[in-house]
Structures are given as structure tokens and as C-alpha cells.
Symmetry: C2
Subunit: 289 residues, 2 copies
């Protein structure tokens, strides 16, 4: 419904862009094009039939696209909008999939022609692998999609993107302000990535291998990180991430001190607090993930 009379361009055929191509192709848009610097990836995508045509330069497809989905790193997304302002079709809706939103919206909105609408979005979906080869319609199935509107958005554009991602398989679509998004995502996504990296790095000189329990595997899973992307994401949300790391450090110190001082009752109480909190959120987590 949302996409059948639309020409759509996906910019960047990585894990997320590729998954968008696969899901949207199945919805029969008028045209599904891709902009991708890597010629080999374009050929692969064309051969697999997940796009109609790929372009290394964006000007031609942009001129005819009603929806442009940027699946790029944060800085690259801003540059793409800036460099292609003259190429966007009149009235086009531009959207993105970057994991931080406040700085991005602040950078992109002032660049826009008055006829264009930028709908900032964040799919809460991913894998600890990158690239088109790991893209799949399953990446989006049942996940949440966050839209972060500003006063500049018109309702029609917001709904168009919301309907599109619902049709692409996202189960829940949420609206929240860019600032609130960055605050909460610092806890629910960025802090776990920082922790995973620190935990893996702290194991130097030790071969966990056969001694690793399931807890170690799960806690370090996302340490298999896309370091370039995550450097941008963490530095792009510095204040919130730092606040969350410090809050975590405080809670860790609480447990450490209880262990150091052999305080059975304090330790038991802190661990029991964790159990109760984790059980409190388990239903919504298990339902979704």
C-alpha cells in the first residue's frame, strides 16, 4: 500500500540496506534502485534480483525517487544529503537508519530544500556481522523501528515511512523525540556494546575458549563490532554515553565493594534487585527479540 506506486532508492547496500532491498522488493514498488560505491555489490544485488538497478552515482535515481532510504554511517548520511541537494526529486521523502538522531537531525534539517522532508529513523535490528551477504528479510522480522519527528516534518511523510517499515516486517513502530531517543539508546544499545568490548579486552592473556560459559558468550557477542561505525556512533552521542557508563561504573563498584568487604547481605540484596528488575522486563524483551 505504502510503496506500490513509489520509486525508492536505497543508499548503501550493507546489512541494513540489503535487508531493506529484500523486504521492499517483495512489496512490488514502482522502482527499486540502489546507490552503492562498490560495483561488485551492485552486480550481486542485480543478479539476485533484490533491486531493479544499481548506480554508483546518485544523481540519476535521485531525480525520480519518491523515497530515499540512506543506510549509511552517521557522517556519510549528512554528507550525502549535503552533496545531493540539487538532485532530490521535488517533494521527496528522505529517511535514514542511523543509530543516533539528535545531532543528525540538527545537521540535516538546515540543509533541506523547503519541498523536501527528512524523516529520521532507527531500526532496532542488526547483527554482529556486516555486509550484504548477511542481509535477510529475517533481520527486520518482529523488531522495533523508532521514528524521531521534529516540528519540520509533515504528518504525511511520517506516516509514509511508518507504513513502509511496517510492511517491511517491523512489528512495532514508535515515535519519540531525537533527544529522548539518544538518551535511551545510550543505555539499551550503546552501553552494552561498550561493555562487551571492555570485557573481551580485559581477558588478555587468558584463553577462555573451552572454559567459556554461556554468559560469557552472550555478554561478548556484540564485541564483534564494526569499529568504524561504532566509533562514530559513540562519539556522536558522547554526553549520554558517558553518563550511562558512569552510572554503570557506580553499580559495578557497589557489587565490587560488597565482595571486597565480604558483605553477604549487601551482595545478596543487590543481586536480588537485579533479578527482580530483569524479570520485570523479561516479558516485553522475550516477546520482541
Amino acid at each position: 500500500m505504502a510503496v506500490q506506486d513509489k520509486s525508492i532508492t536505497i543508499v548503501g547496500l550493507g546489512l541494513i540496506g540489503g535487508s531493506f532491498a529484500m523486504t521492499l522488493k517483495g512489496l512490488n514498488p514502482k522502482n527499486l534502485w540502489a546507490v552503492e560505491k562498490d560495483e561488485d555489490i551492485i552486480i550481486t544485488a542485480q543478479n539476485r534480483g533484490i533491486i531493479d538497478k544499481g548506480y554508483r552515482e546518485p544523481d540519476v535515481p535521485l531525480r525520480h525517487s519518491d523515497i530515499v532510504i540512506m543506510c549509511l554511517y552517521p557522517d556519510a548520511a549528512v554528507s550525502f544529503v549535503k552533496d545531493n541537494m540539487e538532485h532530490f526529486k521535488r517533494g521527496a521523502v528522505i529517511t535514514d537508519t542511523v543509530g543516533i538522531k539528535a545531532g543528525l537531525v540538527k545537521s540535516i534539517n538546515p540543509l533541506l530544500r523547503s519541498d523536501l522532508d527528512f524523516v529520521a529513523g532507527h531500526p532496532l535490528a542488526g547483527r554482529e556481522y556486516k555486509g550484504l551477504e548477511f542481509a535477510s528479510v529475517n533481520v527486520f522480522a518482529g523488531a522495533s523501528y523508532i521514528i524521531t519527528p521534529t516540528e519540520r516534518n509533515n504528518e504525511r511523510a511520517l506516516e509514509m515511512v511508518e507504513n513502509m517499515v511496517r510492511e517491511a516486517g517491523f512489528e512495532t513502530v514508535l515515535r519519540i523525540s531525537p533527544g529522548q531517543h539518544d538518551e535511551i539508546i545510550a543505555l539499551t544499545s550503546q552501553l552494552p556494546h561498550v561493555i562487551a568490548a571492555a570485557l573481551i579486552n580485559s581477558g588478555s592473556g587468558c584463553e577462555p575458549g573451552l572454559f567459556a560459559a554461556g554468559s560469557y558468550k552472550d555478554t561478548t557477542r556484540v564485541a564483534r563490532i564494526n569499529s568504524q561505525l561504532w566509533t562514530e556512533l559513540l562519539l556522536g552521542n558522547r554526553e549520554n554515553v558517558l553518563a550511562r557508563i558512569e552510572s554503570f561504573e557506580g553499580c559495578l563498584a557497589e557489587i565490587k565493594n560488597a565482595i571486597a568487604n565480604n558483605e553477604t547481605q549487601v551482595l545478596g540484596t543487590v543481586l536480588e534487585e537485579a533479578r527482580i528488575k530483569r524479570e520485570g522486563i523479561i516479558r516485553v524483551l522475550e516477546k520482541r527479540l
Copy 2:
């Protein structure tokens, strides 16, 4: 082979004891008894046919048991050996499943009659749920089992336990000293549990719910902790756990400082180090878990 001519008593029908009952019953031991304080659990286990008979008091089954598997908390395991020294059958092999080993071996060995052998063991298997209702033959399938021998053990007893756990579904059986065990388990199991609890506790006032990414779910999974058991496990391995927490804190501070100082290159290098290390252990982890 290892168990068909043996009478075995499992002490404690929780998640691990119950899973042992289910797997060993399928191997047709001469007798499979259980000692369990909770009469309801005994009745359930007997009705489901996963034990031949359950007892609230240990003296009768112990007198005829060739193998005694204690599936108890650390302190309870020591007390059980102490309180029942006169009841163990001559030449019996006693084993346990406690997650820390050095202190346990040091406490139990001096209590033993000279004809008894205590084989300290640790199944690297578990769930973030407790109790017989979550026990299953799948809990052990493909997991590792660690045996921590001392000079007091005789080879026949060690091999009997090793063969038994292999037949119960454990894929890899490893021998390591009690001290080395506690050092490595502080990193590969205890630290992840501490981190999960601290992460959940640090989220107070924030409702992650629908905004939680897969990383948050995985990193907090084991925060649904058995607080009484884990208080004993952490305090029973204090020095090693504290050293691991401090090493982790150092690695976390490294990332935090790079973010605070906006050091793109430092941050990228640290994250890339994590990625490489995680990929280096991925094969052995994915194979096993």
C-alpha cells in the same frame, strides 16, 4: 558402561540435579536415588520416573551408593559431606557440581575417610532459571565439564566421573587444577554475571522495554540470577573475582576516556582490538554453545 552396575544418589533435585537424574536414568544404572528436602519435589520426580526413589534423609541411600553426586550450593555441599561421613558406603566416589573449586576441595578433603574419594567437578551448563521444572537432558548436551583433581584422588575415581558425565551428554571433559579453575571461571562466568547485574541496576528510572536492542537483552540475560547461590559463589572466589572486576574496570575506563576526550583514533583502535579478539574465539565458542 560407567554407570550400569552402579547405585547412584543425586543430592538436590534442582536444575542441575534434575538434569543429572534425567540423563542418568536413560543409562540404566543399578539404582538411581535422590536426596531432597522438599517432599513435593521427590513425589514429582518419582511420578515422572526420573529417579527410582527419593529420600528426605540421606543415611539409607548413602549406605548403598557407589557414586554420590552433590548438586548443592557451595556451603551446603561441605556440610553434607561433614554431616554424613559415617553414612557413605565403603569406597564410594563423591562428586559435586559447585561452580568454584579451590575452597571447596580444601574444606572437603580433610573431612574424608581414607577409603572415600572426592572428585570435584563443574558442569559448564546452566540456565537463568532454577528448579526441577527447568531440568532437561538438553541442559548438558554439547557442554563442557571441568574436573579439578588433587593429589588425593585416585585415577579410577576420576575416570569413573569423567565417563559418567560424558555418557550424560557432556561433549568435552577437561582436567585442570582447582586454583586454575577458579582463576579462569572468574573471567568466563562470574564477571559476566556481575556485569549483567550492574547493567540492569544502572537502568533505574529508565524503561528500556520496547527500546531494548538485542545487545541489551543478551548482556542482561543472566541478571535473572539466583541471588543466594551467586552470593556464595562470588564470595567464595573473592580474590579472583575482584582482580577480574578491576581489570575490566581498567578496560572500560580506556573506552570512556577515549569518548570523553573525543579521540577517534584511540577509540577505533580499542574497538578493533575487541573485534579481533572476539573473532579469534568465535569458532570454539560457536562450536560449543
